[in-house]
C-alpha cells in the first residue's frame, strides 16, 4: 500500500443545508495512489463528502485541502483543483448535444487549451481504455447506460486528473451493465489512480479498496482496512449495515 503525503485531507468538515446538518466534523485523509471506498445508508452524507472535495457543495466549516490547495471562495483555485479531480456521477451527466468524442474533447480543448488533433488522440486513447473505441461518433442517447457511464469515466480521464471521485457510479445501471463499469474501475485502480468511491458494490470494494469508510448520520463511524472492515468491524452500526447489504 502506497504511503505518501495526503492528496486529500478533510479536517473537522461540517456542512449544513439550511438547518439540516449533512456532515458533522468529518475527518478524512487520502494518500496518493490510495483507493478509498465510502459506504453507508442513504442520507448518511457520503455523497456530500465527495461533492465537497471538488466543491460542487461548499462546506460550512472546517478545512478541505486537495492537492495542496485549500478550498475557499477563490474560484480560480477551485477551477484548478477541479481540473485535477475527475468526477463520475450516478446519472452519467453526459452532454446530450455533443457526440461521444466531443464530450471527451471539450474539457481538454476549452479548459486545457489543447489543440483539436491532440485532444482527439487523447480521447481515442481513453475510449480504448474503457473498451468502446467504436462509439466515438455517436450521441450519448444512442448508447446503453453502461456505455454512457464508461464514456463519463473517459471524459474525466481526458482531463488527466490525479484523483478520481465516483458518486454511486453503478446505482442507476441495469444489473447486467454494472460489471462492465466496475471492470473499468478495477483496471483504473490497477493503474495507480487515487480513487474515492461511494458505492454499495461490496465485491468491488473488497477487491480494490485500501481503506473502507462507513458513514451514518453525517459522521464517519468507522475507518478500517477491508480485511478488518468486512470481518470484524469495531462499531455495531457498521456491522448491522454490512449484515443488511451482504445478506443477499
Amino acid at each position: 500500500m502506497p504511503k505518501a503525503e495526503p492528496v486529500i485531507s478533510l479536517e473537522n468538515v461540517s456542512k449544513f443545508f439550511g438547518p439540516f446538518q449533512a456532515l458533522k466534523d468529518v475527518n478524512l485523509t487520502v494518500s496518493a495512489g490510495e483507493r478509498v471506498v465510502i459506504c453507508g445508508p442513504s442520507g448518511s452524507g457520503k455523497s456530500t463528502v465527495i461533492r465537497c472535495i471538488n466543491r460542487l457543495e461548499e462546506h460550512t466549516s472546517g478545512t478541505i485541502i486537495v492537492d495542496g490547495t485549500e478550498l475557499s471562495e477563490d474560484t480560480q483555485n477551485i477551477r484548478a483543483v477541479r481540473q485535477d479531480v475527475g468526477m463520475v456521477f450516478q446519472q452519467f451527466n453526459l452532454f446530450p448535444h455533443l457526440t461521444v468524442l466531443e464530450n471527451l474533447t471539450i474539457g481538454p480543448i476549452r479548459v486545457r487549451k489543447m489543440d483539436k488533433g491532440k485532444a482527439e488522440a487523447l480521447a481515442r486513447k481513453y475510449l480504448d481504455r474503457v473498451h468502446i473505441p467504436e462509439q466515438a461518433g455517436k450521441y450519448p442517447s444512442q448508447l446503453s447506460g453502461g456505455q454512457q457511464q464508461r464514456v463519463a469515466i473517459a471524459r474525466s480521464l481526458c482531463m488527466e486528473p490525479r484523483i478520481m471521485l465516483f458518486d454511486e457510479p453503478t446505482s442507476a445501471l441495469d444489473p447486467e451493465m454494472i460489471n462492465e463499469v466496475l471492470d473499468v474501475m478495477v483496471e483504473l485502480a490497477g493503474s495507480g489512480m487515487t480513487m474515492v468511491v461511494v458505492t454499495h458494490e461490496m465485491g468491488f470494494a473488497r477487491k480494490v479498496a485500501d481503506k473502507m469508510v462507513f458513514m451514518e448520520g453525517g459522521q464517519i463511524i468507522e475507518v478500517a482496512p477491508p480485511e478488518k472492515f468486512f470481518t470484524n468491524p469495531d462499531s455495531d452500526r457498521c456491522r448491522a449495515f454490512l449484515d443488511q447489504i451482504l445478506e443477499h
Binding site: R79, R82, N93, F95, G107, R110, V111, Y139, S141, R155
Partner: protein, 275 residues
C-alpha cells in the same frame, strides 16, 4: 362484448378524426370565414358603405414609366419590419443580460433584474411609449424613432428575459455539475453546454415574441412613426376608405407573422434533438 364496446365507441372518434382531416378543416374554415365576411358585407351594405377595393392596389405598387414603384403600404411594411427587427435584436441582448443577472449569485444583480421585470411587465405598453417619447425623449434627446425602438426593446426584453431564464433552467443541474467537474468557467459552461441545449426550449416562445413584436410595433403610430399602421391611418384620412384599408393592413400583418411562424417551424424541425 369487448368487441361490441369497441365498435360502439368508434364512430365518435371517427367523427372527431374526420373533423380534423385536412379537407374537412379547409371546408369548415372557408365556411366560417365566409359567414364572417358575409355578415360584414351585409352590415356595410345596410349602412350604405361604398366599397372601393379597386383603389387599393395602387397603395401597394404603381407602374410609372414602365417601372414598378412600391406604394406607401409597402414602405410602411418596410418601416414596420425595420422597427421590429431593430427592437427585437436589442430586446434579445437586453433580455439575455437581464436573465443572466436574474440567475447570477449577485444579490444586487438579481434585485435589479427583478425590479426591471416588475416595472416593465406592469406598465401598459402605451404608457411606456408615452414615457419614452414625452419624458425620456426631451431628457435624453430621443426622436420619435429612437424612442419607439427603445420602448419596444425594453418592453419585450422583459418578456424575452423570462424565456431565457426558463430555457436555461430547463437544462438539468447535472449538466452544470459535469461541466464544473472538468474545470469549465461559468462563461464556458453557458456558451458550450447550457445555451446550446436551451435553444430548443426557447425557439417556440421566441417565435411568439417575434410575432408579438411585429404586432405591438403598430402602437408607435400614436406618435406618428412611419410604419404600416401610421401609413394606413394617413391613407384613410385622405380617402375615407377605412374598411378597405384596415382590412388590408390587418391582412398584411397576418401574412408577415404567418411567414415568421412558418420559418420557425422549419427551424424547429431542423434543430429537433435526437433523444
Amino acid at each position: 362484448m369487448l368487441k361490441g364496446g369497441k365498435a360502439g365507441s368508434r364512430p365518435r372518434i371517427a367523427f372527431g378524426r374526420w373533423l380534423s382531416t385536412r379537407p374537412a378543416s379547409i371546408v369548415i374554415y372557408i365556411l366560417v370565414m365566409w359567414a364572417i365576411v358575409e355578415a360584414a358585407l351585409t352590415g356595410a351594405a345596410a349602412m350604405g358603405y361604398n366599397w372601393q377595393w379597386y383603389r387599393i392596389p395602387k397603395y401597394f405598387y404603381e407602374i410609372r414609366e414602365g417601372q414598378i414603384v412600391a406604394g406607401p403600404l409597402i414602405w410602411g411594411l418596410g418601416g414596420t419590419i425595420a422597427l421590429s427587427v431593430t427592437a427585437f435584436v436589442l430586446a434579445t441582448v437586453i433580455g439575455f443580460v437581464i436573465a443572466l443577472l436574474r440567475l447570477s449569485d449577485l444579490v444586487v444583480g438579481r434585485a435589479v433584474a427583478r425590479a426591471f421585470l416588475e416595472i416593465v411587465r406592469n406598465t401598459p405598453l402605451l404608457v411606456l411609449l408615452y414615457v419614452f417619447y414625452y419624458v425620456f425623449g426631451p431628457i435624453f434627446g430621443l426622436n420619435r424613432y429612437t424612442a419607439s425602438v427603445g420602448c419596444l426593446a425594453i418592453f419585450h426584453a422583459a418578456l424575452i428575459s423570462e424565456i431565457f431564464r426558463a430555457g436555461i433552467n430547463a437544462v438539468p443541474t447535472g449538466q452544470w455539475e459535469a461541466a464544473k467537474s472538468i474545470g469549465m468557467s461559468t462563461g464556458q459552461i453557458y456558451r458550450y453546454i447550457i445555451v446550446p441545449q436551451s435553444l430548443r426550449f426557447m425557439l417556440p416562445p421566441m417565435t411568439g415574441e417575434v410575432v408579438n413584436m411585429i404586432k405591438s410595433s403598430a402602437i408607435v403610430s400614436v406618435i406618428a412613426v412611419a410604419e404600416l399602421t401610421t401609413i394606413g391611418r394617413n391613407i384613410i384620412s385622405d380617402t375615407y376608405m377605412s374598411f378597405e384599408i384596415w382590412f388590408t393592413v390587418a391582412a398584411v400583418y397576418m401574412v408577415v407573422t404567418l411567414i415568421v411562424s412558418g420559418c420557425a417551424t422549419l427551424l424547429e424541425r431542423r434543430y429537433a434533438v435526437k433523444d
